[in-house]
């Protein structure tokens, strides 16, 4: 069973399988479609993914260990008002993230004003002192942000985590939609779904908009290589943008300019969408043992001759230690309250919060601020008393390294499982692009689903799957004067497709 009181996004809170009024048709479709038919379609989708090679490598295993991430045939749907609520909150948050980074590598007003404790930023390894004063074009650092959201009720969305380094998963947003269009075309006849396939064009426009040179900028995608677990995504994105997919060996820096080696000689590169971590970018400036990096790349960046997307040094903005200050950061730069709240977070470095955490360990999730991938994490409700006691000792010894959060009743979405359709917990990662013209968000994102009953862990490495995420176009019934509902429904779908689908807002 899902956690008690979990809100189901299609069926609503009541637990009945009638569906929320908006999704009556979808609920009927789920109920009326034979499970065998669902199984068949799902298998067809997964076979297609395998053939396309949409795999992720499991580290430490041979190449035969390439796996596909399970795909679930039942989509998740957001109504137009829900998306409106989310996207305005996302724009605000992403603008704040970029303003924060621009401030930290510049005047550091926010630290001087005491909004965020200075040592939390300055002594943090994710803050790169070497880049102090290096301002990228338009002051944009995090051009691509993946914001992880969770939901607990009809209008209750929370940011679980910001990803401002090299967020991945957007290829699933695109491929899942392709699969759904092929396998469940009937859904798209009923619902007026906003398209996601403009993402590659939007990404390319974003890259071009931040080029240091304006005439025909050359953009490339820098991958660590085909052994990387996200290599499929790298090649897919490069291909769909029509830009070169390069490895470090294809680039060389000369005279503070980046060149790419082609069969016709070297070609100057203006923008690099890099899918390599900061540490490995340039062995001359960062980790000297990096084999993946390009020597001198940082020199070209500091000289302003190449734009790196995302800029180096953005890790400070999505650091767990900073996360709990995000509402303050948003308020500081936007002048208003955060439209998308954080999950309530107790900073154990503060004595009162530490006491509360120690008193309620069995109900809380406790995280190491400098840990990742589920390491150094205590999930109170499922932990043994020995584990809790071990964490208690660790907390008392080094409280500043921990934060605590309540365990949330994450929303569920109907999902195809072994014995039919059942609710499973989900999260959501929309992708926000920031270019010279402001923030834009393709109406969609990656929905990850915990396939194990009751599980809140959506990570693909731990048995999580993905779903398509449909965003419905705003209703057009107001332009339906003489009852031609059917025709107009059809027409509005066409208009939806031809429309500029992005939420585009200017930067301050």
């Amino acid at each position: 069973m899902p956690r008690s009181g979990a809100y189901d996004e299609i069926w609503g809170a009541s637990g009945s399988r009638e569906g929320r009024p908006e999704f009556k048709h979808l609920a009927d479709w789920i109920r009326d479609t034979d499970t065998v038919e669902f199984d068949r379609r799902q298998a067809a989708a997964e076979a297609a993914f395998r053939q396309l090679g949409i795999t992720f490598a499991v580290y430490g295993q041979e190449e035969a260990g390439e796996r596909i991430i399970p795909f679930d045939i039942v989509p998740r749907v957001f109504t137009a008002p829900e998306w409106e609520q989310l996207s305005t909150g996302l724009v605000q948050r992403v603008e704040a993230i970029n303003a924060f980074l621009d401030d930290l590598y510049g005047a550091q007003r926010i630290l001087k004003d005491g909004v965020v404790p200075a040592e939390l930023v300055l002594a943090n390894a994710q803050f790169r002192p070497l880049l102090m004063g290096a301002r990228p074009p338009h002051g944009i650092y995090a051009h691509i942000c993946g914001i992880d959201l969770v939901r607990t009720g009809p209008t209750d969305f929370f940011v679980l985590e910001d990803n401002a380094r090299t967020p991945s998963g957007v290829s699933y947003m695109l491929e899942n939609r392709e699969a759904m269009l092929r396998l469940c075309p009937e859904l798209f006849q009923t619902y007026d779904v906003l398209p996601v396939d403009t993402y590659p064009d939007r990404l390319r426009e974003t890259l071009e908009s931040v080029s240091p040179r304006s005439d025909h900028p050359v953009c490339v995608l820098l991958t660590p290589g085909h052994f990387n677990s996200a290599f499929y995504e790298h090649s897919f994105l490069a291909d769909s943008m029509g830009i070169e997919l390069v490895e470090a060996a294809d680039l060389e820096v000369d005279d503070d300019i980046v060149w790419m080696r082609t069969i016709d000689g070297r070609v100057r590169v203006d923008v690099i969408y890099r899918r390599i971590d900061d540490d490995y970018l340039d062995p001359l400036f960062f980790r000297p043992d990096s084999m993946l990096g390009v020597p001198g790349l940082l020199a070209a960046y500091l000289a302003g001759n190449v734009t790196l997307v995302n800029a180096p040094g953005t890790g400070i903005a999505d650091d767990k230690a900073i996360y709990s200050y995000m509402p303050d950061i948003v308020r500081y730069y936007s002048g208003g309250e955060a439209k998308l709240p954080n999950v309530e977070t107790y900073r154990c470095r503060e004595p009162q919060a530490l006491q509360y955490t120690l008193d309620n360990l069995a109900d809380l999730v406790v995280k190491l601020v400098d840990g990742s991938g589920g390491y150094g994490m205590l999930v109170g409700p499922t932990a043994s008393s020995a584990e809790i006691e071990a964490f208690r000792a660790a907390l008392i010894a080094e409280p500043h390294r921990y934060i605590a959060q309540p365990t949330l009743a994450l929303s569920t979405v109907p999902t195809l499982v072994k014995d039919g359709i059942a609710p499973r917990h989900v999260d959501f990662r929309p992708f926000c692009l920031t270019g010279a013209d402001g923030v834009s968000i393709v109406p969609g994102g990656l929905t990850r689903v915990a396939l194990k009953e009751g599980s809140l862990v959506v990570n693909s490495s731990q048995g999580g799957g993905t779903k398509d995420s449909l965003i419905l176009a705003p209703s057009r019934q107001t332009i339906d004067p003489d009852g031609m509902h059917q025709t107009l429904g059809k027409m509005s779908q066409t208009m939806g497709r031809g429309m500029k689908p992005m939420q585009s807002m200017g930067r301050r």
Partner: protein
């Protein structure tokens, strides 16, 4: 196009061609071994090693030159850089890193062949034949996929690698037969000799072609003529030389540039087209083939330089 991408495509062409050639070589060798009485049958395996330029590598393993050992070394041994497995590993690894330059069909053919050889285990001649048969089917699939590809740079580099590799393989095949294999005292035109020539024709899938062109039993100079100078025969040296010129010309047209590799390839083509089998024999076939192999390797280097592979 990135220089690395071009290099990868070129090497995919070479590795797939090499894997396919080795498959044919094995198939023909097994056939010859079965047909012949000892010791000629055993000698067939020596010759297979020599043609695959795997003599020294095999001896370094310390294994006896038995049919099973040689066959395993040429098909599955990861320590042999020219084994079918190693070639397919290399082809697939290159394909993966340039996935977007390959058509989906071409990628799938290579991936299937790679999966096939990964699952293969060494067995007797029968198992080897079955494996070889599968691989040849995949190779045909790859060729088919190439023909359906856009005639763009990617296509030309793949073809260029295959044509250069083919020239090398065919030249070595003829050379080994003429100068390493014929047992001493064995009469040219004898039974063993005839079987060996048939084996060669088999290796390059030219048995039927030979009959159509010459309406005769396999005769050494005619086989040499077929494999060296007949344009109609796709694996002949002249056909490969034609192909290299054609592909380089297509690339030059696209890029508006040509260089040393173009000139060397055209010179080779012209020289070959003006040769006759009797002039080649007059100067010594072995010497002639040796020069040809060296020239082919030089063109390979010129291609690498011209397109900045390194």
């Amino acid at each position: 196009m990135l220089a690395r991408t071009a290099a990868s495509l070129y090497w995919i062409g070479r590795y797939v061609e090499r894997a396919e050639f080795t498959s044919r070589l094995l198939e023909a060798t097994i056939r010859f071994d079965a047909l012949s009485s000892r010791p000629a049958g055993e000698a067939a395996w020596d010759s297979a090693l020599a043609v695959a330029a795997a003599d020294q590598g095999f001896d370094a393993t310390g294994a006896d030159r038995t049919a099973a050992n040689v066959s395993r070394y040429l098909t599955l041994d990861p320590a042999n850089p020219g084994s079918i497995r190693s070639c397919l590993d290399a082809a697939r690894s290159n394909s993966k890193s340039v996935r977007t330059a390959l058509s989906r069909d071409a990628w799938e053919a290579i991936n299937r062949a790679w999966l096939g050889i990964r699952q293969a285990t060494s067995g007797g001649n029968y198992a080897t034949l079955a494996l070889v048969e599968t691989l040849r089917a995949e190779a045909r699939g790859f060729e088919g996929a190439l023909h359906r590809m856009l005639r763009n740079e990617a296509y030309f580099f793949l073809g260029l690698g295959a044509a250069i590799e083919r020239a090398d393989n065919t030249a070595r095949l003829i050379d080994v037969k003429y100068h390493l294999l014929l047992p001493e005292g064995e009469e040219v035109g004898g039974a063993v000799d005839r079987d060996q020539w048939t084996t060669i024709l088999h290796t390059v899938s030219a048995n039927t072609a030979y009959r159509w062109l010459y309406r005769d039993q396999p005769k050494p100079w005619r086989v040499a003529d077929l494999l060296i100078l007949r344009r109609q025969m796709p694996r002949s040296l002249l056909a490969s030389a034609d192909e290299v010129v054609g592909l380089l010309t297509a690339l030059a047209k696209l890029r508006g540039l040509q260089g040393e590799a173009d000139r060397a390839a055209r010179t080779r083509q012209a020289t070959l087209a003006n040769s006759t089998i009797s002039t080649i024999f007059a100067g010594g076939l072995h010497e002639w083939l040796g020069c040809y192999i060296v020239e082919n390797a030089r063109i390979d280097r010129l291609v690498s330089t011209q397109f900045r592979f390194a």
